[in-house]
C-alpha cells in the first residue's frame, strides 16, 4: 500500500508541476547582447571556406577578413536600420560538405550574400545552390575561367556568381609576357594536375607560344608526393630558361629546391598559389631569383592595403589574413556596398536578395586590391597583376601592370 501512496503523491506532483509549467513565461528572444538597439533588422553575410583541415589557414583568413569588413560596416552604421552579421560555414575543402553548407546558408532567410569558396571544385557545386536562392556569391580565390564564362568562354552560367580575384587567363598571360621580356625564350611547364595548376599552365602556354616562346617540356607531378627528382631529371636535358609551375607553394617550394639540387639552375615561376613566405622557407636559400605573379597591386603598396593590414592586426584574430584576406575583404565590402542599395527599402533580408545581386554587378569602389567592379561575366574588371621575385629570402615586387 505504501507504494500506492507514493505513486499518488508523485502523480499529483507531476500534474502540479505541469500546471505550473503552463504559467511559465519564456521571454521572446531577449536580445541582451545586441548593441544597436532592438529594432535593427539583421542581414547576414555568409562565409563558406575550409575552416578545418589542411586548408584551414587560408579559410580562416577569409573568414576573419569578412568579419573585419562587417565589423567596420556596423561600426560606421553603413546601412541605416540594419545590423550585419557573419555566418561562417566550413566546407572542409570538399564538394559535398560545401554543398551542405551552401544549402544551410541558403535556407537561412537572413543571408543575402556569401563570400567563398576557396576551391573551384567546391564552387562548382555551391554555385547552383546559391543561384537557386538568388544569393550573391563572391569568391575571393576561384581562378578557373569556366566558373564565370562557362564551357565555351562566353556564356555566364550563374548570374549570382562573382569574383574579386582574376582568372588564370590574366595571370598566365602576364607571366608569359614577363618571361619573354626577361629574355627567357624557352620554358618547361610543370603542374600538379589540379584545377588551379592545370588551368594556369594551360593559359600560360597559350600566351607564351603566342608571344614567340617555346615550351620545351610539359610535365606533371603528383601533389601527394614530395620527391620530384624523376621529373626534374626528365626536364633538365631540354635546357629550359625557366620552369613555369602551376600549383601551390607546398609543392612548388620543394620542387624549386630539388630542381636546383638536381642541376637545373633556372628560376621557377608560378602564380599566386606560390606567392607565400612559406614558399621561400620550403625552397630554401637557392630560391633567390624565383618568380611569382599575384593579383592586384602589392597590398602593402596601396594605402588601402596598408590600412587593411593594420586593422586586421589590431583586431587580433587568431590566424593571419593569408593569401586571400585582401580579396575577401574586398568581396565583403562589395556585398556591403550593394546592400546599401538593396536593403534601403527592403522589409526583410530575403526579399532583397535579387536586388543585391543586381547591385553587386554595378558596384565600383577602391578596395584593398585595387578598384573593385565586375564585368558582365562577374569577373573583376581590374586586372592588375604584379610580378614578384625572391630576393634575399623575401618576395620583392618587380612590376605591376593592368592586363585587361
Amino acid at each position: 500500500m505504501a507504494q500506492r501512496s507514493v505513486m499518488t503523491v508523485g502523480a499529483s506532483l507531476l500534474v502540479a508541476s505541469l500546471a505550473l509549467a503552463g504559467c511559465g513565461t519564456r521571454g521572446e528572444n531577449e536580445d541582451t547582447g545586441s548593441t544597436t538597439g532592438g529594432d535593427a533588422k539583421v542581414a547576414k553575410i555568409g562565409v563558406i571556406a575550409p575552416l578545418s583541415g589542411d586548408l584551414s589557414a587560408l579559410g580562416k583568413g577569409i573568414q576573419h577578413s569578412v568579419e573585419l569588413a562587417v565589423k567596420q560596416a556596423n561600426e560606421s552604421k553603413a546601412i541605416e536600420g540594419w545590423t550585419l552579421e557573419v555566418e561562417a560555414v566550413d566546407d572542409e575543402g570538399k564538394a559535398d560538405v560545401g554543398k551542405n553548407g551552401a544549402t544551410k546558408l541558403a535556407s537561412d532567410d537572413e543571408v543575402v550574400g556569401v563570400v567563398g569558396n576557396l576551391n573551384s571544385s567546391v564552387s562548382q557545386q555551391t554555385q547552383p545552390v546559391f543561384a537557386a536562392a538568388n544569393i550573391t556569391q563572391i569568391s575571393p580565390a576561384n581562378t578557373g575561367p569556366s566558373l564565370t564564362r562557362g564551357a565555351d568562354g562566353n556564356a555566364r552560367p550563374y548570374k549570382t556568381f562573382f569574383r574579386t580575384c582574376t582568372t588564370d587567363i590574366a595571370q598566365g598571360g602576364f607571366a608569359a609576357k614577363f618571361l619573354i621580356e626577361q629574355g627567357i625564350k624557352t620554358v618547361a611547364t610543370i603542374h600538379d594536375k589540379k584545377t588551379y595548376g592545370q588551368g594556369l599552365v594551360q593559359y600560360f602556354t597559350e600566351a607564351y607560344k603566342a608571344a614567340g616562346g617555346t615550351v620545351v617540356a610539359a610535365e606533371t607531378i603528383n601533389p601527394d608526393e614530395s620527391n620530384y627528382a624523376p621529373v626534374v631529371s626528365k626536364v633538365a636535358p631540354s635546357k629550359p630558361g625557366a620552369v613555369y609551375y602551376g600549383g601551390e607553394y607546398p609543392q612548388a617550394g620543394p620542387l624549386s629546391k630539388q630542381m636546383k639540387a638536381g642541376g637545373l639552375n633556372v628560376p621557377l615561376m608560378g602564380g599566386d598559389g606560390i606567392f607565400d613566405p612559406k614558399y621561400i622557407e620550403l625552397a630554401g636559400s637557392t630560391s633567390n631569383g624565383d618568380l611569382a605573379t599575384s593579383v592586384g597591386e602589392p597590398t602593402e603598396n596601396s594605402d588601402a592595403g596598408k590600412k587593411f593590414l593594420a586593422d586586421y592586426e589590431a583586431a587580433k584574430y587568431a590566424e593571419p589574413a593569408a593569401a586571400y584576406g585582401g580579396y575577401s575583404y574586398d568581396a565583403a565590402n562589395a556585398i556591403i556596398e550593394a546592400l546599401k542599395v538593396s536593403l534601403k527599402d527592403a522589409d526583410d533580408a530575403k526579399s532583397a536578395r535579387q536586388a543585391t545581386v543586381d547591385a553587386v554587378g554595378k558596384v565600383s569602389f577602391d578596395g584593398v586590391t585595387g578598384k573593385v567592379s565586375f564585368d558582365e561575366f562577374g569577373d573583376t574588371l581590374v586586372k592588375v597583376i604584379t610580378g614578384y621575385k625572391v630576393e634575399g629570402g623575401k618576395w620583392v615586387s618587380v612590376k605591376s601592370e593592368n592586363v585587361s
Binding site: Q3, V6, M7, G10, L13, L14, S17, L20, A21, C23, G24, T25, R26, G27, E30, T32, G33, L51, S52, G53, S56, D90, E92, K94, A95, D96, V97, K99, N100, T103, K104, A106, S107, D108, S120, S121, Q124, Q125, Q127, P128, V129, A132, G144, S146, G150, A151, D152, A155, P157, K193, K194, T195, G197, Q198, G199, A218, T220
Partner: protein, 581 residues
C-alpha cells in the same frame, strides 16, 4: 527480495565480468533502493522545471523557470522512462517486469542521467564562464540523477523470464512497431532541427541511454522477434517514415541536402555490403565504382562540358553507368579474385587509386579528352523525368518540397532497389553460397559451390549497384571531379558497414547515417573528426567487431569461441522460425 543471490544466472555474455564489481556496492539489495529511485525521479523531473542556467544563451535557453526547453524535456523523458521501469520492477507494472531485467535498465538510465547532467552543467559552466552560472534547478536535477543512479546500482535484478518467449497479441506488436517508427521519425526530425552541437550531443546521449536501457532490460530481444514476425509491417513502416521525412522539414532544404547525401552514401554502402558483408570480400576501392557511374552520368549529361555527344534518356544513362561500373568490376575482379583476402584488399585499393589518377589524366593532354581531368565536369543540369523537373520545388499537400527533396525521393527508390537486391540475394541459393564461402572456402568448393563465380558476381553486382547510384549522384552534385573519389571515401564506406553491422541492412543505414550526419551536426569537433573516426574504428574492432546491428551469423563469426552466444543465437533463431511458421 529472497531471490537476490541467485538472480544473475541469466546469461548476458559480459555479465560474468561485471557481477563481482556490482556486488561490492554497499547497500546492494537493500529495501531502500526502490524508494530511493522514485525519489530520484521526482527530484530529477522537479529540477527540470526550474532554471538550470543563469545566462540565456547556452544550449538554447535554460534560464527560465517552469518552462523546460528541449534539453530539459529529454531529461523529463529519461525520468519517465526510469519511472516506468521502477514501477515494472515493483509496483503496478510488475506484469511487464516479469519479462524484463528492470534493475539493469534503471541502472543504465540512472548512469545515463548522471552523465547527461554532468555534461549539461559542464557546458553551461564552460560557455558562460564558471560554475556560478548554474542555477539551482541544474543542481537539483543532478542530485535526482545521482539518486536514481544509486538506486539502479543498489537494485538487484529479479529472476525474470526470457522475453524471447513472451507471447504477445498481434495488435500490441503492430502498435509497438508503429509507435517505434513514429518515434524514429519524430526523433530524426527533432534531432536534425537542433542547431547547436551541444544540444545535439545531449540528445544523442539521451537516445543512447534509453536504447541501452531497453537493450539491457531485454526489450529489444522481444522487439527483434516481433520485427521478424511482422516483417512486412516493419518494412512498410520504415519506408513510410523515410517517405514522410521530407514533409517534416517545412519546405527547407537545409536538412534535405544532408539527407540526400546520407542516402547516396547509404545506398553505396549497401552495395558494398553485398561484397563485404555477404561475400566476405574486402574491397578498399569501392568508391571507384560510384565514381565510374558518376562519370558516365556526367559525360552523357547535357552539361556543356560533357565530352560525348550521345544524350540518351536518363533511364538509359542509369543502365549504361551501372553496366560500365559492373564491367570495371569484372575487369578488376576476374584476375584478382583468386588472390587471398589481404591481397585482394590491396589490389582493390590500388585499383581505386588507378581510377582516380586515370580520371584526372584523361583530359586531352595526358590521354584522350574524356573527363576534363582535374577540372571535372561541372554544370550538369538537373534531371527531368517527363515533365517533372528535379531542379524545381514542388508543392505536395501544401508543403513545398525543394530540389533536394526531389532527389531524396529518387534516391529512396534506388536505395529500395538495392535493399531489395540485397535481402533477396541474401535469402537465396546465392546467399547460401556466399555464407558457405565465408565460413570455409575449401569446403564450399568441395561441396560444389562455384566459389569463383559467386565472388565475381558479388564484385560485379556490387559495382553495378554503385554505378547506378553514381549516375544519380552526378546530377544531384551538379559536378563530378576526381578528388571526390579518394581512398578515404572508400574507407568511410567500409567504416559505415563496420560500425553499423556487417551483413544487415539496418546496420549499414545506421552506420551511414552516423558517419554523414554526425560531422554535419557536430561541427565544433570538425577538426577532430578524423581523429575520432580512426579511434572509433580501432575500438570497434577491439570491442564490438560485428558492429552495432549485426546479423547473427556475423556476430558468431567474430566470436568463434563464444559458446554461450552461439546457444543464445540458436534459441533466438528457433523462436523466430517457430514464430514465422
Amino acid at each position: 527480495m529472497s531471490t537476490s543471490t541467485t538472480d544473475l544466472t541469466h546469461g548476458h555474455d559480459d555479465d560474468a565480468v561485471k557481477v563481482p564489481l556490482l556486488e561490492r556496492i554497499p547497500g546492494r539489495g537493500s529495501a531502500a533502493a526502490w524508494p530511493l529511485g522514485l525519489a530520484g525521479v521526482l527530484i530529477l523531473v522537479g529540477g527540470t522545471f526550474l532554471s538550470w542556467s543563469y545566462t540565456s544563451d547556452v544550449l538554447g535557453d535554460l534560464s527560465v523557470d517552469f518552462y523546460p526547453n528541449g534539453v530539459q524535456i529529454c531529461m523529463i523523458a529519461l525520468g519517465v522512462a526510469a519511472l516506468l521501469f521502477l514501477l515494472a520492477h515493483r509496483g503496478p507494472l510488475h506484469r511487464f517486469g516479469e519479462w524484463l531485467d528492470t534493475a539493469a535498465a534503471v541502472r543504465v538510465l540512472g548512469l545515463g542521467a548522471v552523465a547527461y547532467m554532468v555534461i549539461t552543467l559542464g557546458i553551461i559552466a564552460y560557455q558562460s564562464g564558471g560554475l556560478v552560472n548554474i542555477n539551482p534547478g541544474g543542481w537539483i536535477s543532478l542530485l535526482g540523477a545521482l539518486l536514481l543512479a544509486a538506486s539502479g546500482l543498489m537494485l538487484v535484478s529479479r529472476q525474470h523470464r526470457d522475453p524471447l518467449f513472451a507471447k504477445t497479441s498481434s495488435w500490441l506488436e503492430i502498435s509497438t512497431i508503429v509507435v517505434l517508427m513514429a518515434l524514429v521519425l519524430f526523433g530524426a526530425a527533432y534531432a536534425l532541427d537542433i542547431g547547436d552541437g551541444g544540444s545535439f550531443l545531449l540528445f544523442l546521449l539521451f537516445v543512447s541511454a534509453v536504447a541501452l536501457a531497453l537493450t539491457r532490460a531485454g526489450a529489444f530481444t522481444w522487439v527483434g522477434l516481433i520485427a521478424q514476425k511482422n516483417r512486412p509491417v516493419l518494412m512498410l513502416g520504415a519506408f513510410a517514415v523515410a517517405f514522410l521525412f521530407p514533409f517534416t522539414q517545412g519546405g527547407s532544404d537545409e536538412n534535405m541536402s544532408i539527407a540526400t547525401q546520407v542516402l547516396i552514401f547509404a545506398a553505396t554502402a549497401l552495395g558494398l555490403n553485398i561484397v563485404v558483408g555477404l561475400a566476405g570480400l574486402l574491397d578498399l576501392g569501392y568508391i571507384a565504382f560510384l565514381g565510374a557511374g558518376a562519370y558516365v552520368g556526367a559525360v552523357l549529361s547535357a552539361s556543356a562540358f560533357a565530352t560525348i555527344d550521345w544524350k540518351p534518356p536518363f533511364i538509359v544513362v542509369v543502365l549504361v553507368g551501372a553496366l560500365f561500373s559492373a564491367m570495371l568490376g569484372l575487369i578488376i575482379g576476374s584476375p584478382t579474385l583468386r588472390v587471398s583476402g589481404d591481397y585482394l584488399a590491396i589490389v582493390t585499393l590500388a585499383f581505386g587509386e588507378i581510377f582516380r589518377f586515370t580520371m584526372g589524366n584523361l583530359d586531352g593532354s595526358n590521354g584522350p579528352d574524356i573527363t576534363n581531368g582535374p577540372n571535372g565536369i561541372p554544370a550538369i543540369p538537373d534531371l527531368a523525368i517527363g515533365s517533372f523537373d528535379f531542379g524545381q520545388p514542388h508543392t505536395i499537400a501544401g508543403i513545398t518540397l525543394g530540389r533536394f527533396a526531389n532527389y531524396y525521393f529518387l534516391l529512396l527508390l534506388i536505395a529500395a532497389i538495392i535493399i531489395l537486391v540485397f535481402t533477396r540475394l541474401n535469402n537465396s541459393r546465392i546467399g547460401r553460397g556466399w555464407v558457405a564461402i565465408r565460413e570455409d572456402e575449401k569446403a564450399a568448393e568441395a561441396m560444389g559451390v562455384n566459389v569463383f563465380g559467386l565472388k565475381l558476381f558479388a564484385f560485379a553486382g556490387g559495382a553495378f549497384l554503385a554505378g547506378m547510384a553514381g549516375t544519380v549522384k552526378a546530377h544531384h552534385d551538379v559536378s563530378v571531379t576526381p578528388d571526390q573519389y579518394i581512398f578515404l571515401e572508400s574507407a568511410f564506406l567500409l567504416a559505415a558497414i563496420v560500425l553499423g553491422g556487417m551483413g544487415t541492412v539496418a546496420g549499414v543505414i545506421v552506420g551511414a547515417t552516423i558517419l554523414k550526419l554526425l560531422p554535419e551536426k557536430l561541427r565544433f569537433i570538425a577538426d577532430y573528426r578524423l581523429l575520432i573516426f580512426g579511434l572509433v574504428l580501432v575500438l570497434m574492432m577491439r570491442f564490438r567487431p560485428e558492429g552495432l546491428i549485426a546479423s547473427h551469423r556475423r556476430k558468431l563469426e567474430f566470436h568463434e569461441d563464444d559458446e554461450e552466444l552461439a546457444q543464445r543465437i540458436e534459441a533466438v533463431h528457433l523462436e523466430e522460425t517457430e514464430v514465422k511458421a
